[in-house]
Each structure stands twice: as structure tokens, then as C-alpha cells.
């Protein structure tokens, strides 16, 4: 066998992790370029109602988003669904749970960092305990022992941290392969890579594409767990894209609020306003008096108004808000 000539060993190149971040940055630039070229929707100029509806939907990039949405659907049909189906069939339930548990355990540093940035010390404590218990007694994270003693899993990411600190979500974005997102959450993903231990394993252990591998595994695992649900939703929808957009925003709202209901009992709004997603209800604050907005959008953007609105209110253009809708 031919051996290569003996060369002095090259110093360890930061390949895996740094390359991941560079690729993410490249994606961001490419997306920005695409935005400039095409994919912007023109706001309806002559119809004030339509303009209001347009602003409320907060989806100025709708044509581009729909394009990527269809692209993702094709990728789903061609790649993720078959993989997920195989995964679902081939791996017994406990193995699938094992995969999920390990993935979650590895994510602990990211979750812990974001818990602390949000000032959630209780949840940070839970994250630490979970990591310790599951890594040791749970054999490297395979078994979720911590859940059995009352320490349930919760997820956090930097997008949520930004939201808690008042950063608005911005326009709706559909990212290729990654799916529904927005500028804040997309930026959050990149920051989270800094807290991901796998980034550094990739960098210094010389393992290429480790992020891609785990990302794919996570995607397949999630897809397998929702194998039929999404198909049913799609079949039953008039506008699947709009349904997913709304679902995503409401779910993000719920995640940012850590499952706590905003007081006032209003259903989560369309989530299109910066304030709605940044207002984290800490304790039961007194209901602020509703301020009728000048233009009467259906879902108001100011958090005080949102919290004061009872459920199912249809806002009339002027005057005080009626308390309930007459059937």
C-alpha cells in the first residue's frame, strides 16, 4: 500500500463548527439577495381595508414565502416523509424516544444559556438538574429519568430570548428546508449555534457536517411523530400556507410566554405585532383600559389593548369596545 509521504501535521483547522456558521451567514446573504430581486408583495394602494388586512398579515414577502413553502413541501414529499416513514417503521418506540432524549440532552447548554438570559432561574435549575440526572443515570441522555421525578423538559432558544427582551418578530419568513420563521428567530438560530457543544465538537474534533447530521435527525424524528397530522391539516385546508403561518406564530407566542396565558384571557392574537410577542406576562397585572386605536385594526398591536380585548370581539371603528359579541 502506498503511504503518503510523511508531512508535518497541519494544525487543527476549525472546520465543522465555523463552517456551519459561515454557511448560515451565506444563507442569510443569499436570502437577502433574493428578497431584493423578487418575492416582495406590493401593498394594495387604493383599498384602505385591504391595506389594513395586508399590514395585519405582516407577510410582505408572501410570494417568496409561498415559493419556498411549496419547495419545502416537495422536499418533504421526496425526502423527509419517506425517511420519517422508514424511521417510524424501523425503530421501535423506545428507540425513537431514545433518539429524541439524546437530542434534547445535547441541547441542554443552549436551553440553559437562554433560561439564564431570560432571567428564568427556576427553569435554569430544572435544565441543569435534567442534564445531570439524564447524563449520568440516564446513560448519556438515552433515558429521561428526570421526567419521572417531576423535572419536565422545556425548550428555549435565542429567538425567544430576543422576544422576551422586546425584539419584535418582524415579517413572516419561510426558510428553505427549515420552514416557518422570521428574522428574529432566524438570527436566534445562528446565535444558538454558538452555545451548541456540537459546534465545538465539530470545530476541534474535525467532524464535518455534525450540525447537518443532527438537524436531519431532529427533522426526521419530528416528522415521524407528526406523520399523518400535517397531511390531514393540508387536506382539510383552504389555504394551507396561511394556516401554517397562523399556527406558527401562535405557537411561537406560546413558547415565548412559556405556556402562561396572557391575562385578560384573550386568545393569542395574530402575533403580527412586535409588542404582542415581546410582552411576557409576569404576574397578573391589572387590566389596562382599552384604548380605541385610531384605525381600528381587527387585532390591535398594542399589548394593553390586546390583553383587554375579550375573546371574539369584533372591533367597531369608533367608540368604546363592547364587552362581548351579541350572538
Amino acid at each position: 500500500m502506498l503511504h503518503s509521504p510523511v508531512l508535518p501535521k497541519a494544525p487543527l483547522q476549525p472546520r465543522g463548527g465555523l463552517a456551519r456558521i459561515q454557511r448560515a451567514a451565506a444563507w442569510a446573504v443569499a436570502l437577502f439577495g433574493l428578497v431584493l430581486l423578487a418575492g416582495c408583495a406590493t401593498p394594495p394602494a387604493n383599498d384602505p381595508e385591504a391595506l389594513e388586512a395586508f399590514n395585519e398579515a405582516n407577510d410582505p414577502l408572501e410570494p417568496m414565502n409561498r415559493y419556498f413553502f411549496e419547495l419545502n413541501y416537495a422536499a418533504d414529499e421526496l425526502l423527509f416523509k419517506p425517511l420519517a416513514g422508514w424511521y417510524y417503521v424501523a425503530l421501535p418506540n423506545f428507540a425513537q424516544n431514545g433518539v429524541r432524549n439524546v437530542l434534547r440532552n445535547v441541547r441542554s447548554p443552549i436551553i440553559l444559556a437562554n433560561d439564564l438570559f431570560q432571567g428564568e432561574t427556576d427553569r435554569a435549575g430544572v435544565t441543569v438538574s435534567r442534564f445531570l440526572v439524564n447524563s449520568t443515570m440516564g446513560l448519556g441522555g438515552l433515558f429521561d429519568i428526570a421526567a419521572r421525578i417531576g423535572l419536565d423538559f422545556h425548550d428555549e432558544d435565542f429567538g425567544q430570548t430576543l422576544a422576551v427582551h422586546g425584539v419584535g418578530e418582524g415579517a413572516y419568513l419561510v426558510l428553505p428546508l427549515l420552514g416557518p420563521s422570521n428574522p428574529r428567530d432566524a438570527a436566534g438560530r445562528v446565535v444558538d449555534m454558538l452555545f451548541d457543544p456540537l459546534t465545538y465538537v465539530g470545530m476541534f474534533g474535525g467532524v464535518d457536517n455534525i450540525g447537518l447530521g443532527t438537524g436531519l435527525l431532529e427533522g426526521v424524528d419530528t416528522r415521524a411523530r407528526n406523520l399523518r397530522t400535517l397531511d390531514e391539516v393540508r387536506k382539510g385546508s383552504l389555504d394551507y400556507y396561511a394556516t401554517i403561518r397562523s399556527l406558527y406564530r401562535q405557537k411561537r407566542n406560546d413558547e415565548i410566554n412559556n405556556g402562561r396565558t396572557p391575562e385578560g384571557g384573550v386568545g393569542p392574537g395574530l402575533g403580527s405585532s412586535s409588542d404582542q410577542q415581546s410582552a411576557r406576562p409576569a404576574t397578573a397585572a391589572p387590566l389596562s383600559t382599552a384604548q380605541p386605536a385610531a384605525e381600528a385594526p381587527l387585532v390591535p398591536r398594542r399589548p394593553a389593548l390586546a390583553k383587554a380585548l375579550p375573546f371574539f370581539i369584533i372591533k367597531e371603528p369608533a367608540g368604546p369596545l363592547p364587552a362581548t359579541v351579541d350572538p
Binding site: 381595508e49 385591504a50 389594513e52 388586512a53 395586508f54 395585519e56 398579515a57 418506540n93 424516544n97 427556576d122 435549575g125 430544572v126 438538574s129 445531570l132 440526572v133 428526570a146 421525578i149 417531576g150 423535572l151 419536565d152 423538559f153 411523530r225 390531514e232 382539510g236 385546508s237 383552504l238 389555504d239 400556507y241 396561511a242 394556516t243 403561518r245 397562523s246 399556527l247 401562535q250 405557537k251 407566542n253 406560546d254 413558547e255 410566554n257 405556556g259 396565558t261 385578560g264 384571557g265 384573550v266 386568545g267 393569542p268 392574537g269 395574530l270 381587527l298 383587554a308 380585548l309 375579550p310 375573546f311 371574539f312 370581539i313 369584533i314 364587552a323 362581548t324 359579541v325 350572538p327
Partner: protein
Amino acid sequence: MTATMRVIRTLLFALAVAVAAAPAGADDANPAASAFMQSLGSKAIKELTDPALPQAERQARFHALLDEHFDMAAIAKFTLGRYWRTATEEQRAEFRGLFEDFIVQSYSARFAEYHGEGFTVTGSSADNAGVVVHSKIDMPSSEDVRVDWHLHPAAGNSFAIADIVVEGVSMAVTQRSEFASVIQNRGGVAGLLDALRAKNAQSADSSGAAAQ
């Protein structure tokens, strides 16, 4: 087991106890509403989830349940959103009918897939429009699903469901968002009514074909 391990275990246990003992907020502001939901849940499970039930029968029962226990008038008005004001009486009436059929078609198939997951009411709280009953559905393979039922007071000291919020996602808000998009993209309320008619016909065909 070394002394260190014992100390760590005790600390972790203490932390676990502290976390578990934190007030869960499972108070019951409106026991009547909670009881209502618990019995409605059992009734729905009993009547709708039999896998041997023919699809038409299941849909008919679900339709009856909707009419009796849901505030369909309020829900229809909410999901049409801002366009309710500008819609004509006929459009509103037609929308109400089509919307109900749409809901029946979309959701009745899901009941057939029920596999005995437990439905437990965990408490209730008040909000501006009425009561919110909190419940959870125990999924066998994954974590419990939080479901909140927003109830309006109804005739006869009873309640009517105005919205269902699953893990923070409101069904009414999602539906309204979807309809708004259809209205904007397919030519107003008339376009929405056409789309609903077409979708209902399509669902009826496919469920009819499946039943054969």
C-alpha cells in the same frame, strides 16, 4: 454509594421536590364549567370515537354536538373577521352553513383515530368573555397536550364553547387567519364562499368514496 453521590442525590431530590411542589395554579374558579366540560368530553368520546361507526353517522352526531354545545353564531362571526361587517345577510347566512359543514368535514375524521387517550379537566379560570376550562389529553407516546376551552354562558345555566386553544394555538384565530387569506387572494367573501363550497363537496366525495 459514596458520600458525594449521596449528597448530590439529596440535593437533586430536594430540587425536584421544590419544583414539583411549586404552586401549579390548578384552582377551579368555576366548578360548574369544569363539570360541564368533563361530562361533554365523556359524551363526545362515547358518541364519536367508535371506530366501527359509519362516517355519515359520525358526522351527523358531531353536527348535532356542534349545534348544541358550541356558540356557532359567535364563532362564525369571529372567523369571518372584519369582513362580517361588509357581508350581506345572505352571505352571512350562507357562510354560517358552509362553515359548519366545513368544520364537520375537517374534524369528524379525527375522532375515528382516538385510541383511548385520557381526557382530564384540570381546572378553570375566568376571563372577560366567560370561563376558560383547562384540560389535558394524555398522549401515550409523547407528552400531555394542554387544551383550553373558552366558554360563553348559555341559556339554561349552561355553557357554549366559543374557542378551543391547543397548546396556545387558538382554533378560531387560525381559522380566521386562513379565511382572511382566502378572501384577500380569491376575490372577497364571494370567493371564500366558493372555496368553502368546493372544499365541502370534495370532502363529501372523498369520504363517500372511502366509505364504500
